[in-house]
């Protein structure tokens, strides 16, 4: 049971790290292919 719960917890941790890390890296389409001149956010 412990490995299962640890696995599920790891999904959350990896996802948060991915979200924060990739956000910092500016990976999103709007970041890469757009800018203030062409997109009204």
């Amino acid at each position: 049971m412990k490995p299962m719960l640890t696995g599920f917890a790891a999904i959350i941790v990896i996802s948060v790290v991915a979200w924060y890390g990739l956000g910092q890296a500016g990976f999103s389409s709007s970041d890469v292919h757009s800018g203030p001149n062409v997109r009204i956010d």
């Binding site: 490995p3 640890t6 696995g7 996802s15 991915a18």
Partner: protein, 411 residues
């Protein structure tokens, strides 16, 4: 496996043809040949399309557009300093038609190749494929799999352990293996549901629960899908490293398949740590999951990882299109078409893998007595191990005897 590959090819090929030709419809309507009368009528319009062409296109019939792709005549262009010379032998309609067919020589100061595409009609074919055959046959596949499993359960019941449980257990999977399995399983279920919401939300959720709810659900689904994908890919690598050695094909698998793995009938063929059926599951997860991961990365980093022009070039080189009796796959794709192919392929392969995993979940839970313990506690009863993995049990017992003290080392 061969049938599965053929099925994937046919599904994918239909999308490929439609993407290549914007006038091919992706639904079930038949496509007629170009009527000669329409071609004969064109001189009356000075070579432009006729009313018949327009009506035929609106009916979804195939219209030969090659005559509209001839843009001007540079050889007869007026001198550059003369009136109209700056157009280089092309008229304004030539320019608009060149834009329409994405064949104009566009120069942009920013945005790269993506920004050079001003009209991209492949998007409509992709949208129709997504809302039509993909949704239809994908849901049929999942519901059909569930239905077959219910019928199988009613007919066969739960596969029981024939002998009395011994009370003695052997370790089937250690803690790290189980962690990797549940990391993969949990992330796959999240990705499956959120992917289905994104695909089906507009058609099946918004009409019943409202657009606001659908919008919120899909925004959350996209967030979860994009970020949980990394856990899936990590777990995929982990299970591959842990189990690939046990999943290489062997002659034992042939015996296992010959007796239907004991699933049908009362025989229980010998098997090592992974039997033939589990090897199919393993390689399906690795190959299909790997393909989903690659196409997913292409979608996660838009326009950065184009895959399909190169893949189609390789497939044409191998003559795959000829085996299937098809025209060559398109090898010149706009960046947007690359993304559309990635999206379609991602969904097709995901549907197939979801169907396989539903069957896996069934057999690992309600379908077989004692199966869950292998991934739950990691310990299985010797009677279960003898019935389903007799060769593996013998190996474990032999190792136990060889170990100092003759006992299984503690985890």
């Amino acid at each position: 496996m061969r049938a599965l590959l053929c099925f994937l090819f046919v599904l994918f090929a239909s999308a490929a043809v439609a993407q290549d030709n914007p006038n091919v419809r992706l639904d079930d309507e038949p496509v007629s040949e170009v009527a000669p009368a329409k071609i004969e009528a064109r001189p009356a319009t000075g070579g432009a399309q006729t009313r018949e062409d327009i009506m035929a296109r609106q009916r979804g019939e195939e219209v030969d557009t090659s005559f509209r792709r001839e843009f001007g005549d540079p050889d007869s262009a007026a001198g550059i300093s003369n009136q109209l010379g700056t157009l280089g032998g092309a008229s304004d309609p030539d320019l608009w038609r060149a834009l329409r067919f994405d064949e104009a020589n566009i120069t942009v100061s920013a945005g790269g190749d993506v920004a050079k595409v001003l009209v991209q009609d492949g998007g409509m074919a992709w949208y129709q494929f997504r809302e039509g055959p993909l949704t239809k046959y994908g849901t049929y596949l999942l519901l059909g799999t569930l239905g077959l499993l219910v019928i199988f359960f009613v007919l066969r019941g739960r596969i029981a352990v024939d002998a009395e449980m011994t009370g003695r257990t052997v370790q089937r999977f250690n803690a790290v293996e189980r962690f990797a399995h549940w990391l993969l399983a949990g992330s796959f279920i999240l990705l499956g549901f959120t992917g289905l919401f994104v695909l089906l939300g507009r058609q099946f959720i918004a009409p019943y629960l409202g657009r606001e709810f659908n919008s919120t659900l899909l925004t959350a689904s996209k967030f979860i899908h994009n970020n949980v994908s990394w856990a899936f890919m990590l777990a995929l690598v982990m299970v591959f490293v842990f189990w690939v050695i046990h999943n290489l094909p062997s002659r034992t698998d042939l015996k296992w398949f010959a007796q239907f793995g004991g699933i049908i009938g009362k025989k229980h063929p010998p098997a090592k740590k992974f039997n033939g059926g589990q090897k199919i599951i393993f390689w399906s997860v690795i190959l299909l999951g790997g393909s989903i991961s690659v196409s997913g990365l292409s979608l996660l980093f838009p326009f950065e990882l184009p895959l399909f022009a190169k893949t189609f070039t390789a497939l044409n080189g191998f003559g795959v299109n000829e085996w299937l009796g098809m025209a060559p796959f398109p090898t010149e794709l706009s960046p947007q078409e690359e993304m559309q192919f990635a999206s379609a392929w991602h969904a097709i392969v995901s549907f197939v893998l979801m169907a396989i995993i539903i069957a896996h979940i069934y057999i690992g839970s309600v379908g077989m007595e004692g199966a869950y313990d292998a991934m739950g506690s990691g310990q299985v009863d010797e009677a279960w191990a003898h019935q389903h993995h007799s060769l593996w049990l013998e190996e474990v017992k032999a190792k136990e005897k060889e170990a100092p003290g003759g006992a299984t080392p503690a985890e």
